[in-house]
Symmetry: C2
Subunit: 241 residues, 2 copies
């Protein structure tokens, strides 16, 4: 769609410029409210108040509360994706385990810095809200794509340990799912490595969610950095790095 691109690229008329500016203002204020009060308490009226405008005016820019939620969702996915990309790129090129740990650390640090956004992306779904897949899947898959990219590069470099948990077999139905993923992304990872990558993925988010969502309790773990580093190290071993 070249027309849409150009429309986005050059907001020639001052009207469009003003409109775009108020929209980013709305998203910015929405992010602040999200951070302070949480996703379920996100109120268009409160955003309007902070914007210095009456409530009905924001409906000129945002169709409804759900669309603002979608904008914040995309915003969060992209910010997290940028953080992860930068962290992985800063790791040594051939050090795949280091890249894996850098990815995990980047996700955790972003989650701790933006707990409300993290909860919106990876926590319990907001009741009555269904994310529009056509707008959120692309930014929402950036981290996992990056992760399998690390595994794939390690595999091609011959740095992926294939014999980690020898006794575990993969049933055919699961193998079919993994084959579909492999075909969809053009990977050469064997089933075992792919499955362990999925486990590492979910485990990282499990550890972060426990910490961010307060499941550990107030004083069960004081050395949380060290705990997470330990979990990352073990998971890297599990994944074969």
């Amino acid at each position: 769609m070249p027309s849409l691109e150009t429309k986005k690229a050059k907001p020639a008329t001052p009207r469009e410029r003003a409109r775009a500016q108020t929209l980013v203002d709305i998203v910015r204020i929405g992010r602040e409210h999200l951070a302070v009060h949480g996703a379920a308490a996100l109120s268009l009226r409160a955003v309007a108040r902070d914007l210095g405008v009456v409530s009905s005016a924001v409906y000129r820019y945002v169709q409804n509360r759900d669309e603002l939620l979608t904008l914040l969702l995309i915003d969060g996915y992209n910010e997290l994706g940028d953080q992860v990309d930068a962290a992985v790129a800063a790791a040594p090129e051939g050090d795949f385990a280091g890249q894996f740990r850098a990815l995990g650390r980047a996700v955790r640090q972003w989650a701790i810095r933006e707990p409300a956004s993290y909860a919106l992306l990876f926590g319990s779904p907001v009741p009555g809200y269904q994310a529009p897949g056509e707008r959120t899947t692309a930014p929402g898959t950036r981290v996992i794509y990056r992760l399998v990219g690390i595994f794939e590069a390690a595999q091609r470099a011959g740095a992926l340990n294939a014999e980690v948990s020898p006794g575990v077999v993969i049933p055919p139905d699961l193998a079919a799912d993994l084959e579909a993923i492999r075909a969809g992304l053009g990977l050469s990872l064997p089933d075992e490595a792919l499955a362990r990558g999925v486990l590492a993925w979910t485990s990282i988010f499990g550890a972060i969610s426990f910490e961010v969502f307060g499941q550990y309790g107030p004083d069960t773990f004081k050395a949380r950095d060290e705990l997470f580093e330990h979990q990352l190290a073990v998971l890297a071993g599990v994944a074969g790095l």
Copy 2:
């Protein structure tokens, strides 16, 4: 507190009986609403409507919305704890890996059956709601206590593999946390085993959360039972079982 116990045990006066009955009715209706509309949309007015009573009447039984949330929280923790206890007890006595898998399956099945309750217990915290620790910690720690109990029994039986990830060391700060846990629960597990148990714990909930919260997407994994079984098997190996 014997007086409180007797008060609970024999609701002699019919008034107290009726009061207790309406309270369990409120919790029951609250659970239904939780399952249908989610935690953030839990409305005392709607509960009152279903109870056939005006909204202000429920405030005679429940102090506010947060207390109803607390009651549902305790209810959920206990239901999950009962499921886990039953599943673990049904596993063969000396088969510690089997008990571990039974625990994981029980948690997952309950989570799939009661996704809203699972979200309330382990998902993003409800904004503005702080669980009262003195009432929720006891039921909230049943599952993790059960899990470390399995590890402890395996350790005493000499069935715990100590050399799983040899290269990973535990820094002193983390060791201090683990020592406090070990002392608090009267365990004899070494640091490595305890830390890997925590990892297994968070990883199980990470896998279940991804599935229940819809992070996998609609059709990435069709063989979800097999995927979870695979993850359980790998995690049992990681934990040393």
